[in-house]
Symmetry: C2
Subunit: 442 residues, 2 copies
């Protein structure tokens, strides 16, 4: 079947996580005399950079998610498992899933990061984060329900709180969400409501640090702040959130009445990483060696957002972005294949492709190959860069169509309130808004 | 402001339900010297005839649902409320919502029907019905999860039960779902699974009566049966379901092991209709007079599926189909407007536009204007008839695109498992399938 040198019996590589890193690693193992198992707790690969557009009702889930089985239908050496990893025994080379134990020769951990509330997990109920499709649909549900509730709220102060959106965290997700929320309030829905003036909606972007978009050059962070401010978003820098409770967001002594809070502030490694008994950095990411393997555990790798590895050029940690994840996935696949021959493992060298963030219609900032630019050119480049890597022609087409539609009609196509409030979350908004009498507007 | 004759102070029409009937009634009241309130428990109007395609992962929710506010953004005399009706006081002309009471001059009840388990509500958990978007997403989740669970089930009998889908009810929804399930099993996913042969999936369509599609001419019901059988669907006529429990579907003495059951058998009027103290037919629908008002309550109407009214030509009840709902909505709007002038109320005359059902690729049956036809022509007509009335250009375009895509690629674009199992439902399938060891296929 294969003419390649076969030094051992068929090798089994177990990859945990179907994000950018895991998918690329599995793809790069195609054709090798290796058996691959890819396990994920979801049945789809999610194009996370566009997730905020599902939350803001521009895109549908199917536009930015592709079934993992579909991606690998023509790759014969892989099997896909819908299962959540529970534990690993490194010495026995076993991974434990509910009802099953899987032996591996190589283990690749690529489960990404989750929200970090900096020790205040009790904020999660009132300030959901945006990492999964279900979270995006939940945030969409809250945004749309807030306007419905405000429309029938007779009390002025309470109505103002319902029309106040706070986004915590001035990274790309926070900036993009704040811009999208402002567009919804000022362009998409004003004509749809009779009692409230949705253009008075307050959108507040709160950042603990001194600037927005800290991963990009300072001038672009400042440009983003100016653009957002010009659009009507209130940008608050140097404002660490100290509490979120009962519809109030506290910044030190100050209390902002805001019933809608979205958390885009911090991430930490998947929780189970803490149970592995390996060394983590302060953000809970797994510290890896230069070949991306775990210290002392040569046949286990961590890649993608979950891995903490230093950029040899800058001395800083490699950022948690898709290109880095893809590069890591590819390298680990090559390093595993190298073991089957006599090749040596290679060292991870991060190739920084730059960064960008979109702010609104025709507004974005980008830093590519040392070139910093903004406005319409950056917006166009941002759009292209986010279309090209989407899996499959259909998704590309759908996203392009929805963007063009959204651009010219200023309409959000996916403005549907679906689903139920999460079970474990204190419901911040009533599903059915209070109607305070027949004619609240009179 | 208006030159029209105004016999009384501004009249308030309260419409409950944003389905075909309620939407049409509100639209037909546009421009009249009438104030309209349209209340629905969802923020969108759902194009229910295509709901089964959301369940079968062809379409996304946003393709077939339009925000009600959006529909009426240019109609000035209407306000939209997201609220669920709780009770009505006919004598005081008041409708009660959570936290609010609304006075009305005219009340139009258009809340449709819900599933009827014929006195066995305990079946609901194992056999969800298909009336709402959330139900469609839940059925989609179950269908996709079933294959994931079967892929890793080592026990042969248990695997067979996981690969057995029972659709109860041989009306259009049941026929269309059974056909779609067969297409998924035999065309969409066979290449995606490694351990199971999805083409061996059993799809069983169970009908208590003597034939399928009882609302259509007998020859078309027979044609549908033949088409489905040829596609590989097991059609069981004269088979009333007597129990659904613990993964078993009972038809008298016979017990079918089937872990996936979808209920498309019976409907009954919305539950609150029972609390109104008005006369209902055996299906719990409100009996109305010829002008669609309730007997003895001249200013309250029932329209759409919720109304039981006789077709004057056939002597049979008017069927619960979209054209009938639209016709009723229009008539009631005219009858209300007539009261503002000196015109008399008109009698409802049902104009039967025929009926149709799609079975699969290039297969459908249709009966239009006395003409019965099937196969590709019927399929084409079915497609056109279901595209034209969709709200908005975007939805039309999206549905057409997804159909063409699905037609040529045999791929289901929306194959995503999202959401959580319902809170009040016994979970029939594990979200995480059991993995019985490293190499179940060996």
């Amino acid at each position: 079947m294969s003419d390649t040198l076969r030094l051992q019996k068929e090798t089994h590589v177990l990859i945990i996580g179907g994000g950018f890193a895991g998918i690329q690693c599995a793809k790069s193992l195609a054709g090798a005399d290796i058996k691959v198992t890819l396990a994920d707790r979801h049945n789809y690969h999610l194009f996370q950079p566009l997730l905020y557009q599902v939350a803001s009702a521009v895109l549908s889930p199917a536009d930015i998610a592709a079934p993992i089985r579909r991606i690998f239908r023509h790759q014969n050496n892989i099997r896909v498992v819908l299962a959540k990893l529970q534990a690993v025994d490194f010495s026995k080379q076993k991974a434990f899933f509910p009802n099953a134990t899987v032996d591996y020769d190589y283990l690749v951990l690529a489960t990404g990061v989750t929200h970090s509330y900096f020790g205040h997990d009790e904020w999660a109920g009132q300030a959901p984060g945006l990492k999964t499709l279900d979270e995006a649909l939940e945030i969409r549900r809250r945004i749309l329900t807030a306007y419905e509730a405000a429309e029938w709220e007779a009390d002025i102060e309470s109505r103002k709180a319902k029309l106040t959106f706070v986004v915590v965290g001035g990274g790309p997700t926070g900036v993009e969400l704040a811009g999208a929320l402002k567009e919804i309030a000022s362009q998409t829905i004003p004509k749809d409501f009779r009692n409230i003036d949705t253009t008075t909606t307050r959108i507040i972007l709160i950042e603990a640090g001194t600037r927005l978009l800290s991963a990009l050059p300072e001038q672009l962070g400042e440009k983003a702040r100016k653009d957002l401010t010009q659009m009507g978003v209130e940008v608050r820098l140097n404002s660490p959130v100290t509490n979120i409770q009962n519809g109030l967001v506290s910044i030190g002594e100050e209390q902002l009445p805001a019933e809608n809070v979205i958390w885009a502030a911090g991430v930490r490694g998947s929780k189970y990483a803490e149970t592995l008994g390996v060394e983590l950095d302060v953000q809970g990411r797994i510290k890896v060696l230069k070949d991306l393997s775990l210290p002392g555990i040569k046949n286990v790798f961590a890649i993608g957002d979950l891995a903490c590895v230093m950029d040899q050029k800058t001395g800083q940690p490699v950022p948690g972005v898709a290109p880095a994840a893809i590069q890591m996935g590819r390298l680990v696949a090559e390093n595993i294949k190298a073991e089957l021959t006599t090749k040596k493992r290679r060292t991870f060298v991060y190739r920084d492709k730059g960064g960008m963030a979109t702010i609104g219609r025709n507004r974005a900032v980008a830093s590519i190959a040392g070139l910093n630019f903004s406005g319409f050119p950056a917006w166009l480049v941002w759009s292209l860069v986010h279309i090209i890597p989407l899996v499959g022609f259909r998704s590309k087409f759908m996203v392009i169509f929805n963007w063009i539609w959204n651009y010219f009609s200023v309409s959000k196509s996916a403005r549907l309130i679906t689903g139920r409030p999460p079970m474990n979350v204190k419901e911040a908004l009533p599903v059915t808004p209070p109607v305070k009498g027949q004619d609240p507007e009179e």
